[in-house]
Amino acid sequence: MNEEKKSSFASTLPYERDDKKVSAMNERKKSSFTSFLFVLPYLTMFILFLAIPLFYGIFISLHDWNLISPNRPFVGLANYMEIFNSNSTAHELFFSGLWNTFQFVLYSVPLLVVIGLGLAMLVNSLPEKIRFLFRTAYFIPYSISVSVVAILWLWMLDTNSGLVNQTLIKLGLDSIPWLTKIPFAWVSIVIATLWWTIGFNMIIFINALNEVPEEMYEAADIDGASSWERFLHITLPTIRPVMLFVLITSTIASFNIYGQPYLMTRGGPGDSTEVLLMGIVEQAFELRQLGSASAMAVLMSLIIVGISLIQLKVTNRPEKEAKE
């Protein structure tokens, strides 16, 4: 909204100065050229690092593409058929990885959204002076690389010498096999992920909360609404578009889980936390089957796009309902 206001304001300026039409048109051209220049950096990046790799990946997926061999015959959809052939190793790799990834998405996304919003409301209700401090503190982990995050948690959760279990033992409790037994392995991976990325969702929610008009709360107060009713009928409807954004970005990010299980559990115990991306990387760079790996990656992106569309459809009901 704000963006729109600003740009329309800019383009009305020449009229206010009562210039001739020609100069107005020039101005407009210039303005759209300026806008183009602003988009250009992103566009270049988008084409270089997203569009080209995407189409190249689809191209590779249609070939028998061994990384070492210079011969790469075109095989059509054979790589895709292989994934759906229930006797192949590619099938096993893809679907067991996909199932594990699904589990992680199911465990992590609700928490990423709910805790993100909860933290945002907590931080927002703090006195102005210390609000900044907490906002920064919660956001800092987001800027750390995944390897550091994984190693931090690996040490803290170590069954035999980790901080967490040492503390449990001191309190007279049993130690917990955080990274070597199911369901604890998932719990640990989800905790590490929350700690790492929750700051981002929190910041987005804080901005959304600040956009909620104060008058609406005041009016609700006069009408005698409880704080829960205010949250339910004012806050939630107002921040709904942002909520949807957070939901979708969190889902996509969770599908792309790789570093945490790769570094913390190595996919264990057995292969119960071996997620899809680990399988794809193995297929691509250990077995050197780039064609098959690309086919898996393409299927994975289709699944992510599909799920995001469903989320969009289900959550973004017509505006009317919300207003009533």
């Binding site: 300026t34 070492i68 069954t159 035999n160 096999p177 057995g270 077995l287």
Partner: protein, 420 residues
């Protein structure tokens, strides 16, 4: 107008950034840089750790000694190494003239015909009997030699001398067989104090430990393209490992990735199996440790699992002067490889490992002692992915998720599917 100036500035800054993203040389390790018409030999190696400068020292020595050839060492980080090698060998990028390759990778590449057979080269300047005979076994595929050995790195045995003393054991004589090992481990274990005789890893480096015990049992893992994980030798190896946790109770349960290493570094784990590359880390920690050959944890024979570093030449290198230059360099390395030993590794060249200077080192002579009975990964392409199911089975059995035999049966089927 100001807006325009800043826009132009931003765009050009951006263009500069983009240029920086282009393909750049993999980090060049030093190099003298004085190319006065010498024949250049580009040499790739994955030595991005503390071993890099040691290899650079050898290369510098060779470049100074003669002025016909100029060897340029380019270090590619270990994690990127084989991806980079793959791209170079399929002709997408300039291939080097000389590369380091691990023994367990040679078969995969040789099968794709991207490595030069070295049988014409070995024999003149570089001679087989200059190296330990077992070193060549790691570089041969079906009778053809594809690599010239640099070193062999077998599994090693480390122990905490202070804990041995405290438990009333002789800190200078580590166990040598299964019985002594179990007895020592039991004496060293004080579970209620969180001290363990031998914390057993459930993940890496089982890739070295488990095959070692299988080979010591006289067994094999893959023979003639068939995975055999249900033979008595293999089952006994896994049952023995499991007993260390559940029967002898000398290892804690649920050891996670690197959990046993953390305990060893904290002085709470008395005995530890790992590769010779750990030396630097152990020396930097303040534990009073000893290093020796791996005790015979199997029941039949001395054996230890090992991998190796070898020099290989891409098939595309045909220029004769270059090949002669490489021969001279390799022969120089064989005679002057002491610098490589300083990285903790044991060079496979007799001139080095039989020298007096080498004998005075702490770890390296122990590594070389095991040369006589090292065994490598089975002769199959893609050993890494093929063996994944096996090490998953080890993981599941040791974590009590699956019965030993069942886990091995499942793994055998999975590995077999990969082999076809």
């Amino acid at each position: 107008m100001k807006k325009w100036v800043s826009l132009v500035a931003t765009t050009s800054l951006f263009a500069g950034l983009m240029a920086g993203c282009g393909p750049s040389d993999s980090s060049t390790g030093g190099g003298s840089g004085e190319s006065n018409g010498d024949k250049e030999i580009v040499f790739w190696a994955p030595f991005s750790g503390p071993d890099g400068p040691n290899m650079q020292k050898i290369v510098d020595g060779f470049n100074e000694k003669q002025d016909e050839y100029d060897v340029k060492l380019q270090i590619v980080p270990q994690s990127e190494y084989y991806k980079t090698v793959d791209l170079a060998l399929n002709g997408q990028e300039d291939a080097p003239e000389l590369m380091i390759m691990h023994g367990d990778q040679i078969m995969t590449y040789a099968e794709q015909d991207v490595l030069k057979g070295l049988d014409d080269i070995v024999g003149d300047t570089v001679q087989k009997d200059q190296y330990h005979e077992n070193a060549w076994k790691g570089a041969e595929v079906e009778g053809t030699t594809y690599g010239v050995p640099l070193d062999i790195h077998p599994l090693m045995f480390y122990w905490n001398k202070d804990l041995f003393k405290a438990a009333g054991l002789d800190p200078e004589s580590p166990p040598t067989n299964r019985e002594e090992f179990i007895a020592a481990a039991q004496k060293l274990t004080k579970a209620d104090e969180g001290q363990w005789g031998f914390a057993l890893p459930t993940l890496w480096p089982q890739q070295f430990i488990f095959p070692t015990i299988v080979y010591q049992n006289g067994g094999t893992l893959i023979e003639d393209g068939k995975a055999d994980y249900t033979s008595e030798a293999v089952v006994d190896a896994l049952e023995f490992e499991k007993d260390l946790i559940s029967k002898y109770k000398v290892s804690p349960e649920n050891v996670q990735q690197d959990g046993e290493l953390t305990l060893f570094l904290q002085g709470k784990n008395a005995m530890h199996l790992n590769g010779p590359w750990m030396l630097n880390q152990f020396e930097e920690s303040n534990i009073n440790f000893g290093v020796s050959t791996v005790p015979r944890l199997g029941t039949k024979q001395d054996a230890v699992f090992a991998n190796s570093h070898n020099f290989v030449i891409p098939a595309s290198v045909e220029d004769e002067t270059t090949v002669t230059g490489i021969e001279e360099f390799l022969s120089y390395v064989a005679d002057n490889g002491m610098a490589w030993a300083e990285s903790g590794q044991a060079p496979a060249s007799k001139a080095v490992y039989e020298s007096e200077e080498f004998g005075k080192l702490k770890q390296q002579p122990q590594v070389a002692k095991q040369f006589d009975y090292v065994q490598y990964s089975p002769a199959v392409a893609n050993w890494g992915p093929v063996s994944d199911p096996l090490f998953k089975a080890v993981n599941e059995a040791l974590l009590g998720q699956k019965d030993v035999k069942k886990a091995l049966e499942d793994a055998e089927k999975e590995s077999q599917a990969q082999l076809q």
